[in-house]
């Protein structure tokens, strides 16, 4: 079951004609899918689009009523391939994933899908993980649209436009027999707003109304030569013009502001709000988007419609193309359109805006200011604002030293942290080791205090990325992979490959039971339970089925045991892949389950034992070596109470979940004797009380002191 619960959102998915839907952008997309009569949905989780799938997984009743088939795809390639249902059949399907990475994984299926073309509308909702908050390489999805002839929508980031583009996207897909991608940036996925809902539509062909017979054989629908040669021509000769006609007829792109005037701006839909904010500052727009400078908003960024571009640019001295990221595909295409139309309109874009990086308000203001100034427009308020921002930056720099960064970290009590503590200790014994990192929570080990990992090549790719390292180094490399990565890709790309080649390599699989980094979604090996989709498919059985014999399981919190097993894997003679399955349930998921249950038990008077850790401030010498081996958020600092010591001492705050890592590390690394485990028995039974009284009495008898009475209640 996913991290966030969506009960209220599910109610909103049921809204009908004229009612107001309020919610996040990505949930508006979900509602729009249902309003469009979608027959099947799937995808692979990842920020910023995880919620689309999470909410649908919880909305099984509603999906059942509408007959929507929901597939939990094991990776993006599976999701893209699933759209193959729309090649022959008039069924609308939508899949979602995080781009650029998901699109990369899906690329093979996407190319084949795009070549064959679709009958039923096929939509791909891609979360463009670009700019602030992004967690992946910075590339544009646009390139895929160009190379595979997929249409790319980039709606203005407000709910009514996003919803309209999803609905129109299906129509566009069907009108041009082409799959359509809807690109939403991080902030657009999370934008909260409202739109007027429409009734949900049940598909004509769906899980509830199944087709009796498959389609007839048609070679033309296969992405196989010689059909592929005809399909390539069809893309250009028929599908492209059909799409362009649809875009024009339905006015998917918007031209705002005065039609005349010597200057104009062409902007990606997703960037319009940033543009409008800076235009308003320059006195060229207002809070409602009444722009005073001709602006062409591309809610469809591929394909462009040359005649619309020519119409917009004709008679203008210059246009500025506002486009995010590199290469500047739009600027290149518009330049070509202008040249072919023999228009003399000057074209600006990346000469005034930076070639790489997010278009923030500051970046936009600089570009806009350069553009307007170049053509003799006064930009006083804009220039004044830029000066103020710079003056403020200088003033702040004079007062505030660079601040320590705060990257994401393993949660308190995370089961993966102890494995990296053990790997730090391993380095002391066997020296530095090449570590192939992967995608997932365990990638946080690349940040301090662990700072481990030589490369990240993609989700589930760690073992494959270490193949040639294993073949060219004395010491075996260690590859770290999550169970998420294992099922996404790692089993085949990594493990089967290493087994096949008898790679001399070590693989650590973090078996925490979920795809945790994306929001604790279920994966094939998740334990089956009432609300989850886990099937309990065994990782170990999968490994053994490939003929691997060196497979060991460790409990992650036992640092000494993990260390010993790692050392064995590194040093034992012989060839072949050694796999360590590190078992430890995701603490986020565990606490979500345990906390309410324990609170209930305590309230009901049941005996409950609770554990947490404590640092003795009198014994701690303040050298913080424990933190360099842990990094747990609950293991922190506090000022020393000792007037003879000035450095802060270690302190375990009340967030501690008692995972035991502090004590294990203190032991395994022989750190210091200041850690103590505290066991609190709530609602103790008669035996507990007798035992405590007896120990207390004996200790007192021997001159010791124990708490005379029950401790004072917590503050």
């Amino acid at each position: 079951m996913a991290e966030v619960s969506f009960h209220r959102e599910i109610e909103r998915l049921r809204l009908g004609d004229g009612e107001t839907f309020q919610g996040e952008g990505i949930l508006a997309v979900t509602k729009a899918l249902l309003q469009s009569g979608v027959a099947y949905v799937g995808g692979y989780q990842g920020a910023p689009v995880s919620h689309l799938l999470d909410v649908l997984l919880e909305a099984e009743d509603l999906l059942g009523e509408l007959g929507v088939h929901l597939q939990t795809c094991t990776n993006e390639a599976a999701a893209a391939a699933m759209l193959g249902a729309s090649i022959h059949y008039p069924v609308r399907g939508a899949v979602t994933w995080k781009s650029i990475v998901g699109t990369n994984v899906a690329a093979d299926a996407l190319s084949n899908l795009a070549s064959a073309g679709v009958t039923g509308g096929a939509l791909i909702i891609v979360g463009e993980d670009y700019g602030e908050g992004a967690s992946v390489i910075q590339e544009r999805t646009h390139a895929f649209a160009l190379k595979s002839s997929l249409w790319l929508l980039d709606p203005r980031p407000e709910l009514p436009t996003i919803v309209r583009m999803v609905e129109k996207g299906f129509e566009l897909s069907e009108a041009s027999n082409t799959p359509v991608m809807v690109e939403l940036r991080v902030r657009a996925c999370h934008v909260f707003g409202a739109f007027k809902a429409r009734d949900n539509v049940a598909a004509k062909v769906s899980a509830a109304r199944r087709l009796g017979e498959p389609a007839a054989f048609s070679y033309e629908r296969l992405s196989h030569p010689p059909a592929t040669f005809r399909q390539e021509r069809d893309k250009i000769d028929r599908r492209l013009p059909a799409a362009q006609t649809f875009i024009l007829d339905n006015e998917l792109n918007e031209t705002l502001g005065p039609r005349d005037g010597e200057l104009g701006i062409i902007v990606q839909g997703g960037l319009f709000n940033v543009l409008n904010g800076r235009l308003a500052l320059a006195g060229l727009s207002d809070a409602c988007g009444n722009v005073q400078l001709a602006t062409h908003v591309l809610n469809v960024t591929h394909p462009l419609v040359p005649e619309a571009i020519v119409r917009f640019c004709a008679g203008k001295r210059a246009v500025l193309v506002v486009e995010e990221g590199a290469p500047e595909f739009l600027e290149q295409a518009i330049g070509q359109i202008l040249r072919k139309a023999d228009l003399n309109t000057a074209l600006h874009g990346k000469d005034m805006l930076p070639a790489a990086g997010e278009v923030t308000p500051l970046v936009m203001a600089k570009g806009l200011s350069a553009f307007l100034t170049r053509y003799g427009r006064r930009v006083d308020p804009l220039a004044a604002w830029l000066d103020e921002v710079e003056a403020h930056r200088v003033a702040v720099a004079g007062v505030l030293a660079p601040l320590p960064p705060r990257p994401p970290n393993f949660c308190t009590g995370c089961p993966e942290r102890p494995v990296f503590s053990a790997m730090q200790l391993l380095k002391r014994e066997v020296g530095p080791v090449h570590v192939a990192a992967d995608i997932g929570c365990h990638a946080f080990a690349t940040f301090p205090p662990f700072s481990q990992g030589h490369s990240i090549l993609g989700y589930g790719m760690s073992l494959a990325s270490a193949a040639a390292v294993a073949g060219t180094q004395v010491k075996r490399p260690i590859s770290v992979m999550g169970d998420g990565g294992f099922w996404h890709n790692g089993l085949l790309t990594g493990v089967a490959g290493a087994a096949f080649n008898r790679d001399d390599s070590v693989l650590v699989i973090m078996n925490n039971g979920y795809s945790s980094a994306t929001g604790t979604q279920d994966i094939p090996s998740s334990q089956p339970n009432a609300d989850g989709r886990g099937r309990g498919i065994e990782i170990e059985a999968a490994l053994r089925s490939l003929g691997l014999t060196w497979v060991k399981r460790v409990r992650t919190y036992g640092v000494a045991g993990v260390l010993k097993t790692l050392k064995q894997a590194m040093t034992e003679p012989g060839k072949g892949l050694r796999v360590i399955i590190a078992d430890g349930e995701c603490q986020l998921a565990r606490q979500r389950r345990l906390r309410p249950a324990l609170a209930k038990a305590v309230a009901a008077g049941e005996r409950v034992e609770r554990t947490r850790f404590w640092v003795d401030p009198e014994v701690c010498t303040g050298d913080h070596s424990c933190m360099r081996l842990s990094g747990c958020p609950s293991l922190t600092l506090k000022p020393s109470e000792d007037p003879l010591r000035t450095d802060p001492v270690a302190h375990v705050n009340t967030d501690c979940v008692g995972c035991g890592l502090c004590g294990e590390v203190a032991h395994a690394a022989q750190l210091c004797p200041s850690f103590a485990q505290i066991d609190i028995i709530q609602n103790p039974n008669a035996w507990d009380r007798l035992r405590a009284r007896l120990s207390g009495a004996l200790i007192r008898l021997l001159g010791g002191r124990v708490a005379a009475a029950a401790p004072p209640p917590a503050r």
Binding site: G277, A401, L403, P448
Partner: protein
Amino acid sequence: MTDAQPIRLLIAALGGEGGGVLAGWISEAAAAAGLSISRTSIPGVAQRTGATTYYIEMVRATGSAVPILGLNPAPGEVDILLATELLEAARMVQAGFVTPARTLVIAADRRVYATDEKVAMADGRAGKEGLSAALARFSKRLVLADLAAVAAASQSQLNAVVLGVLAGVQALPIGAATFRATIRAEGKAVDANLRGFEAGLKVAEAGAWPAPRPGPYSAPHPAPYSAPHPAPLPTDAREEGMNAELARFPPEARAVLREAVARLTDYQSAAYAARYLARVQRVAGEPGADGAFVRELARHLAVRMSVEDVIRVAQLKLRDARLARVAREARARQGDIVDITEYMKPGPEEVLGLLPPGPARWALQRVRHDRSWPLKVRTTRLSGFLRLRLLAGLRVWRPRTLRFAEEEAWAERWLGLVQRALAVDPAAAREVVATAALVRGYADTYKRGLANWTRIAEAVVEPGLSGALPRAHFADAVLQARLAAVKDPDGEALAATIAAITRIAAPETLAAE
């Protein structure tokens, strides 16, 4: 063209502490109050305890026009900043979002330390004073209060308290009743959230918010010692003798000396404490040893002379005040049973160090270096108590142990260097005093610290004393070496620094190479 200007609100928070819920409350309440709103966030993986932000714009909807609201905060255009932590608030100042012309800042005056601050080998914390000063300087209006304490006192969450403060300062056209209704409508932990909201409301309405807890930066040097300390307090008669004794030392050093004497008496004996005072006095009599110098010398010497050997650790773990404190920190309730299990893992140096130097050295050469004895001692049970009691009882034996002999030798060596340095350059002597902080901790940490100290003594202090290192560089060289020693545990920075110092000390050699 409309003149309506949106209100822009930015939230800076740590992942996983309810910033998203806070943003949700504000935007739902704004919608209920008839405002058009847009809210967005950059959670991503930052939800895993990293820094994260939420951004809201709201504007009074006029007629049928649909506002185009921004999704990105712009520098200098944020009206309200809510921050659940001081460093994150300051980060927003650095990003240009807090400006004297318009920004109201409501920030929780508390520090949650970032990993980089925690892993420093000495004190790596970003100064609290500097952070709040930046907020005070660049905000238009600042509500900086220990809202986490307010939350704890009202048994609620910080985000609800922040919401209450926001409602209380009346910076938004949204009434408190609307916020309350929003919390109720959300339906999760309603009672606790309402409690927090009301507590926050009071903070704002009172206008006087609770003063921040005194952190290390509001009192850069240790505040008067007030923590419960078990050391035997001198009786009145002893007190008088003590006062006379201390009168021989500069006033700045007396508080430290008094504390040190009590500690060393508890640690070993009154005679041991007297030996300590004699040592301090030996150096305090030298020219150039001013009050501050003597205080630091006395402080470091006391720490080293009360080194946490196995005996001391056992003694500390049997403190009677400890159990009550543990129970309080563990939030145990009336009637709960609290057990303490101590984690100890003495190595050969710790265990064999209890023997007299001769036999100890003999045994140490024969035992495996990486041998150690992991112990989990339950001190709240008889057997665990007895074991520690036995160890603590070895106190009278301590002066005969190898560890004691080694510590004594070290202290004499260090004091000797300090004395000789005083004769050369008091500023350098001050730095030699400070190097004592490098020797601390247990096992490997202790060995590494001692090794680093020895390298500095040999490669920096001795050349300074002999004149090989020019006097003008002496003090700074010792300081740089000490800072380098705590930069990384692998000693790379120290090696580089010592190499640089060696080049200064012997330029001819370098030129000859």
